[in-house]
Symmetry: C5
Subunit: 333 residues, 5 copies
């Protein structure tokens, strides 16, 4: 029957009252240090003789202000007691542990080790939610890449990349800490186990979630790179298109300018000038050359969309076992 | 003589009826969770005291909708019984295990371990088919890169890259799971082996297939990067070509415009204006300068294809042992 | 009760007077070698039979001169005595160890091992301060990337990258050296420990700081790459914008030039020339075509900002556990 | 005295006649499977109780058709007998083992293990020849990069990159297989060794060749990247040069056009028009402004080669120990 | 008292006379093989029963010819004798071991192990000198990147990158070989040690030098990448600048051309044409529009340097512990 004491920004006396006596000075100091922006500790779990000491961080991305802050949750677990210490970040609100309490009551579980599991699981769940939300936004970016302006896409890629980097920085050490529990390298040193075999199985489940979070982050990073490459290729191609337009405009406007210049010459004898329909003769050449040029550039595909008669792209195959099974063998016999 | 029970989206009662009694709660929970998009578990194999528990995923790429979903197949194997649990994905159809049944009947094999092997082998075969189909499409992309439009190529590269990333995400943990069997790290804890030596040799074969799948994925990724680089280099070069065309057009059209402007001046005494053949004199200069310019730009290679007299590319050597054997030594003596 | 002897660029006699007799020749030689630019030793810690020998480097970036130099601090620690040897760099001032002395006095700590800890901790703190300062400057760069000129940004990215590379070169081996203490692989060979368990816990704290420093460096490098990519995308896009401007200008100026050329022709009969309001007719066409063109290019978004009616970018979600918790599950049911 | 049986695309009966009885079914199946394009097995070596089983692949690049196929050579070695099974690729000719026979006769060596060594050594030698031939072609590419057209270079880089990727795919697992022999992890399980100590030394030599092959491949890949970067930088710079030419042409042709337009105005009183030498006055301005412009652009270096008075590049130092020895120390004292 | 025999391109008899009898055939063969370009062995050290066998390579970059060759130095060390075999490269001069002889005489050291150390130390020193010389040239490149032409910079980057790649190829296996000595994994198999503890300390020093060489190579590679990125960003930006110039020229020259065309029209009644000061009226408009345009483009920063009123770049902080110490804490409180 373990007791759970949850402290928010505790003073030294509060802490000393709640913690077991054997607590190490350095851990105490860490628990007392107020949260400082850009000076967050590294997530970790440590087994000591009489207690397990843990530090966890949860990243919060405040998108409007393009800012990330970290909520710190520390824990000291003995067999009889779990003390969690939450710190209010300089620029935001502290972590909310109420779902853990709800789950513990629902499961009627009271062992300290199980409470630790519930807390770490909540954090892992949050990471999965976070990466899922990021992936949705990357999907949105990919959908918008043909419609949004270059400046918008550039800024969005940069924001998502920042968020991924800040999240990755936190997930990796959290995963390493949980891995130590799964490997049975962390427990209290003396007496019956704080984290017995069945709770370690629970931790294996958390570890699996954190592995999925890392896989998901890797996938997100690669999808974002893919979106960036797509965007860069589009800009490079747009440049070609704009230059083609410029060429068409220069060519289409300079030829009539030459023609009217031709009949602006002051030679004594230019036959066409004397014709009654001379003016329309000039217009005729202007319209004819312009039509021919426009037709030519349309045929090249420099204006009005893709070149005429462009090859059709073969459709992509559906990659379903039912349709491709045995294909490999079939195609080589 | 093992019994094979195949369940599709089972209810809790169905499951409890089919599974051995010693099953762990967490595994049961995993088997009951319906498949959720973007929340797939990680492929894995676990040895427990009385059973082996496995989760496998098969990616399906629905190309028309640029979408990937995963079919989940879970298994619980004891010495007497193999229970497979298939889940219907939210956005598609479940995995079809009938080839395993056919193979098992053909081989008259009934041991549970062998059935597990057949199932994992089917999945590995699917991965090889999948990567083979992807490679064929990358080949097609490379062939089309000179003919298709930039937008088509850009989109195709992006689609293939997405598919590769989603497949890779599944192959790597599957390979790790099978590696544990080859290393004899997975089996039931008590009694005779579920996966004896000869079945482990079969698993070594599956492991080899998954290694080839990973090698193939790496090759695909590099070939795709190569295609992307080729495409980028082509766009950069096309930009040069378009700007050269623009320069030629500006140059070829501005010189005649200057000439006709010259004879449009109103000076009192311009000798040429008084000549009877003055108009043809003007045309003569126009045609001469244009011909000279076109000849010059053709010689530069800015229009009409490559520069004249460009160096021939030396042919690539045939890299066949019969032709290059001993070449290395010969060339240095 | 350990004695601390601090030597600055000592002579051989001074050194021999201060050091324990058992010191190895090679260590002595290292302590006597004057600091040479571009020939700094590698940071390390070595346990010998009677003493612990350490070399540490602190990078100083002199930004005005785009130059980095390293301050070398060596130490020889026995149970009775700590000898630190500081070297004056060729191009700067030596390391200042006074904060260690202050901390030691404040903590009333006199054991040699604790003094070693204080020294290494001071260096680790400096690395954290350094990376923090670098991160602030990267933030500044990101804020300025839309306002500063391309040359300024290019130079700033290059300077920050140099600094990161030079700092990384020093942090990595320092971290490895401290890791050996944490792993209990370094101590004097004989007699009671120089670095007992409680000091090793202190070193674990230093190691954690150095790990955070490495994480911070990785983050800085990725943020800098992100800033570089952003800048490159901006330049590529600016190129498009400039070419669009050029196209607009060519198009808007060449049409009126054609019109005035049209009425500069010398045909015998051009109806408009005889009209009394002919000149204003010409002006009318000039103004009309110019207005139409400007309107068209404005609609395209080639001048005057983004295209009209461009799609709004969906806002980024706030990534806070309170708002996204359960989102993953909810979105798939 | 070992017997060597070499089989080309054997039938099942031929195989069963030649192989030892204890052969595993899976190996037999592998030996019987005909070579299929894009479904090659992975190179490997396996030690079994009574025999060693090996699979090797040799890549052949058919450059004219931009195609790669693999020759498969399998081997079963017992102490008394070496059976090699060669397969005819779908698209080419099988491997030619005659050099092994020649070497074996020359060395009068008849032990099965030594024959295995000779075969693997032949394959390793082929890899070295192959990489050497690739490196020669990369050298050729680098020499031609200033002379060939962009399309030629782009295609050549892509072809060489494909060849490197296909070779790498085969060398890496071959190296791993041979490493197992050097580490004494592969041999027949029972009785005297098939691969005794002195043959393992021979294998160490083969392993060294394969390591050199991998080093060579890495070097080739980096040299090819370097060539690609060089080419990209050249294209980017050529773009600048072309745009500079365009600017010069526009500027040089538009100023005379303005001048002749100036004197084409119909004002009542333009003094110059009345001058007898007015026409030459106009030509004078045209020639003067053109000469000034050409001089200005030549000075800028936009036409006619590099800017005048460009700084000389300092020569690269010769990096020879005789010339740079002690330089480091000298430069800092 | 060990004897040192130094042989240059020895014949088989010379070698057999100098070497211990127990030498392995393969080593003898290696020592007799003449040095062949592009077929250098891999640097290594091997311990055998009665001797230690080593192969070392020293890269020489002949910059004028853009060529690298390798000097090979092999050694056979027993307790009584050190035999070094130097080979003359096909394209250069052999390695000069005289500094080793001088050092040995200076140190009055005659043990074979110490001679081996001196030789390896000389090679390590050469690598450090080499990397130092390369770094100086990269510094020079960075200084010149704003002054030299693009072609010069491109070629210089390519040359330096080649040199780095060729040096890296040799340093890495040399470091691995020396690491084996430090780890006490290499020595003669029987009798007293060839490389006793105190010589191993010397080798630790050589290992440290080789580690610094690798660190230095990594730094060089990153600095070279940084220079390449800087150069690419500059070219991309220059392209923008050139296109801006073109736009300014087109705009500034086309407006006057329009104005003079306007007054070249032949309408019956154009008021301005009849004015006595009409010609100056036209000039007035030409000068006014040109001045306004030049002013506008100057304000934009498209000509004449950076935009007016551009923001000042904040200066970089000096990263010195004295100035930033405590900054981190201060900034967050």
């Amino acid at each position: 029957m373990a007791e759970w004491i949850d402290l928010l920004d505790p003073t030294e006396e509060e802490l000393r009252g709640a913690l077991p006596r054997e607590i190490h000075d350095r851990a105490l100091e860490q628990l007392l240090t107020p949260a400082r922006h850009d000076d967050e500790p590294r997530p970790r779990l440590e087994g000591h003789d009489h207690y397990v000491f843990g530090i966890f961080l949860v990243p919060i991305c405040v998108r409007e202000e393009d800012r990330v802050f970290y909520q710190e949750v520390d824990l000291i677990a003995t067999r009889e007691r779990l003390v969690t210490v939450r710190k209010t970040p300089e620029l935001g609100h502290p972590f909310d542990p109420s779902p853990v309490r709800d789950s513990a009551e629902a499961a009627k579980a009271t062992r300290a080790g199980y409470l630790v599991y519930l807390l770490v699981d909540l954090i892992a769940e949050y990471f999965l939610d976070l990466i899922d939300a990021l992936n949705d936004e990357i999907d949105e970016l990919e959908d918008g890449i043909e419609r949004w302006t270059a400046g918008q896409i550039r800024a969005r890629i940069s924001e998502l990349r920042h968020d991924l980097l800040h999240v990755r920085r936190t997930v990796a050490p959290t995963r390493d800490a949980v891995h130590q529990v799964v490997d049975r390298r962390i427990d209290v040193g003396a007496g019956p186990e704080l984290l017995p075999r069945e709770i370690e199985l629970d931790f294996a489940d958390v570890y699996d979630k954190l592995l999925r979070a890392m896989d998901g982050l890797d996938l997100s990073r690669d999808l974002l790179s893919s979106a960036r490459d797509y965007h860069q290729a589009k800009i490079a191609n747009d440049q070609n298109e704009v230059t083609k337009r410029l060429t068409v405009i220069a060519s289409v406007l300079l030829v009539p300018t030459f023609i009217v210049g031709l009949y602006g010459q002051n030679f004594r004898r230019i036959t066409e000038l004397a014709w009654g329909f001379g003016y329309w003769w000039s217009w005729g050449w202007i319209l004819l050359t312009t039509a021919l040029q426009l037709g030519f550039y349309r045929w090249l595909g420099w204006i009005g969309g893709d070149p005429l008669g462009r090859p059709k792209l073969p459709p992509l195959r559906k990659l379903d076992p039912r349709s491709i099974r045995g294909r490999r063998r079939a195609s080589s016999t």
